[in-house]
């Protein structure tokens, strides 16, 4: 593990000491519609006191009428929540050290937050082969901190989707930069999940075109090399395609009720400004 990862881990674990992964039901609640999966049949487990951010539909108004206490119902999944954290180990995640450090650190933070919240955590290293992390609680001991897989998560989903827990929270940490249709990926990734969160990590300016001039671009994952004389028109076309790509993911996330968050690596490394995770209810 390199020094940047060590420093990242140190900072992240300090920040994550009190962080808790939110319930799947609350994730994404900030006044927005939760998605099409509301209304699943769940087993009532217990009451607890209302906390800001809780789904108001879960308030038990009978209790309020009787006792003037705001109490929410806890269901069995929330008592024993499951979380699958899928970390994209493809080479594209390492185009910059900050990007890979951000992905690693975020995974460590969410893992710790999940464990703090009592989730049953399964961390999957999505390389060319998906491997389940035996020690998700010890990021420093994780199996493979390198981001060197020649495949993206979309390539392995069909084969390894069975590893994912049902009716749990599924979090993907990836740059989402592969050409396949996001609909088909999300359709598979979010099938059987209670909630899906996509956290996109991009290197600073990754979706900005390179300056004009003669450039030899090498694909981080496939190794394909393309020599291009970059000019304004070509840059414009890149922006348009990048925008369409992002829009496609947003649309797919919206259709599958997934939460999509994008971070620039610079936001996370080294300062770890993760307020948005709290604002969107991923962390609490």
């Amino acid at each position: 593990m390199n020094d940047l990862f060590k420093r990242t881990l140190q900072t992240v674990l300090a920040r994550a000491a009190d962080a808790r992964l939110a319930s799947p039901r609350t994730i994404g609640f900030n006044g927005r519609r939760l998605g099409r999966r509301a209304g699943n049949a769940l087993e009532f487990s217990e009451y607890r006191e209302y906390r800001p951010g809780d789904d108001l539909r879960r308030l038990d108004w009978n209790v309020f009428g009787r006792r003037e206490l705001l109490m929410v119902k806890e269901f069995s999944e929330e008592v024993d929540p499951r979380c699958d954290l899928l970390l994209d180990h493809s080479r594209s995640m390492a185009v910059t050290p900050e990007k890979s450090a951000a992905a690693f650190g975020l995974a460590a933070l969410l893992a710790r937050a999940a464990l703090n919240a009592g989730f049953s955590l399964a961390l999957h290293h999505a390389a060319d082969v998906w491997r389940k992390e035996p020690q998700p609680e010890a990021p420093s001991e994780w199996l493979s901190p390198e981001f060197d897989a020649p495949a993206n998560p979309g390539d392995g989903l069909a084969r390894y989707a069975g590893m994912l827990q049902r009716r749990g929270l599924r979090i993907l940490i990836s740059d989402l930069l592969w050409p396949e249709d996001p609909q088909s990926f999300l359709g598979g990734f979010s099938a059987g999940a209670k909630q899906t969160v996509l956290i996109q990590i991009l290197a600073d300016g990754e979706l900005e075109p390179v300056p004009n001039g003669y450039v030899m671009l090498e694909d981080a994952e496939t190794g394909e090399v393309r020599e291009l004389p970059i000019d304004d028109a070509m840059r414009q076309r890149f922006r348009e395609r990048a925008a369409r790509h992002q829009e496609a993911w947003r649309r797919a996330a919206a259709e599958h009720g997934a939460l999509l968050l994008s971070f620039q690596a610079g936001e996370l490394v080294p300062d770890w400004s993760v307020a948005r995770l709290f604002q969107t209810g991923v962390l609490q």
Binding site: E206, V210, N212, G213, L217, V225, D232
Partner: protein, 582 residues
Amino acid sequence: MTLTGWTDPWNLFALTALLLLVLLYLFQRHARQQRTATLFLWDRPEAPPRSGARRHFRRFPPEFYLEALALALLAAAAAGPFFTTREEYPPLAVILDNSFSMRAAAGNGETFRTLALPELRRRLEKLPGRRIFWFAAGRAPRLLADDRNRFDFERAWTATEDAADLTAALALVRRTVPDAEILVVTDAPPPESLRNVEEIGWISAGQSRPNLAIVNARRGEGRLLTEVVNCAAVPMPARLTLTPGNAEHTLTLAPGERRKIVLRLTPEQEKNRLQLRLSSEADALDFDNERMLLPEDHSPVLVRIQSGLSDAARRDLEAVLTAATGFRQALTAELEVLPPGQPSDAHRLIWHQPVPGRSRPTLTDEPIILSPDHALTRGLSPDELHWTAVPDLRLPGETLISRGADPVLTALRRLDGKWDFHLNLQPESSNLARRPLWPALFWNLATLLRAERPGVETRNLRSGDLVRLRLPSLKTDSLRLIRPDGTEEILPARNGRSAFPAPPPGISRIEAENFQEEIAVSPGNPAESDLRRCAPFLRNGTPPANRDRHAVHSWSPLLLLAALLVLALHQVLIGKRQEGAP
């Protein structure tokens, strides 16, 4: 017809800068390398890469092509391209040294002439389509061709004349084509007078080589006089051979030595054509090592003394005619000696004698005056002459000898071309027959009358001599000259006579109606045989300074402008790139 060319074609070597530009782009201005996760968002190449290939064909950016184009335009502009019409561009006048020294051996089977050909062809091909005037420089220069059509200059360049007057050739060029660029092809560097005339192009492939030569050869009665020279810096052994008979004479000539040799001729050799040959191993030029000598016609003039002359006259005549003066008495004569009033078809010596009772001859002390210009009186002396003649006797024709005011010997050419010589002499009272003048006069007469015979004045000539001949018929107005190389020429004749410059060395034949004659011409210029003056020399000439009427239109300004526009476009392109950079 439009001519195009380059003023300074060597400047096209600047195009090698294109190679430097390519190397620059390959090794220095190479593409920025960047690793990216968003390659799929960039433009794809038009053709998909080969399966398994991970690299696309490298293309240079547009700036490269603009820079290359600008370089090429600048190099082309520096080379000075131009166009002009064939009529506008200064023609080229090529002067070919037609002297026999161009035949000298230069080693490896080459001669000075063949060694000069590649350079000559290279200069001719420099501007294809240009008008070329060809001149031959010999004893007298001449225009060979105005090259409006194809001209086989190699064939016309015979190199057989015994001298090349380049100065006269240059003068002819300047008179004929004053605006021409001049190129001289010879075997020696420019002479002192032309050394600094840079406008005249010069090609010399000559080399200093040893040479032996026969510079003179003459037939006499029973002998052959020849003169040989060693034009080398070392002694040269040689062999002189005379055929027929194969008489050989070995000799060694000192450096620069010129030696006269007399060879005795046998009676057989006297009647025949002779070939004289000089052989030496180190000799570089064979052309001047041989002489062909034809037998000359020195047969006596046939003379007949008609009746009617006085005894004294007849006696004096017979004495002089038998005195080996070149006459032989015959019934059918070329010359008839007769009194006035007798007709004859031959030449006539009309002896005017006093008519008894009518005219009385006198002897006076008036001076005897001889015409100095006539062939008949050449070498005659009037010393101690007593000339008795009929006074006041008018003789027709040109006065050759006069006594005081009275002509005593005249010459008149008749309408049939024959001569009438009128002699006013009373031999009984004169001492003419006992003075040297008398046989000398008849010697001159025989020589003159032999020259009046049909045929050439002399059969053996040297290059540059004039061939004079008489044809049998006065009505013949042309003759055919067949040169040693077989080429023919029709030459004019007038009143049965013709004169023309000697053809190239060798045996030539002259033919006309009822007439055929051979002549032998030999090279005989020691200066031309001396190859020590020969040396290689090259110089590029230039068109004449006066170019007003020669509109040579240069492309350079247009090319420079185009280069500037390309560079401006290049700057615009770079500017746009920089604007687009984040």
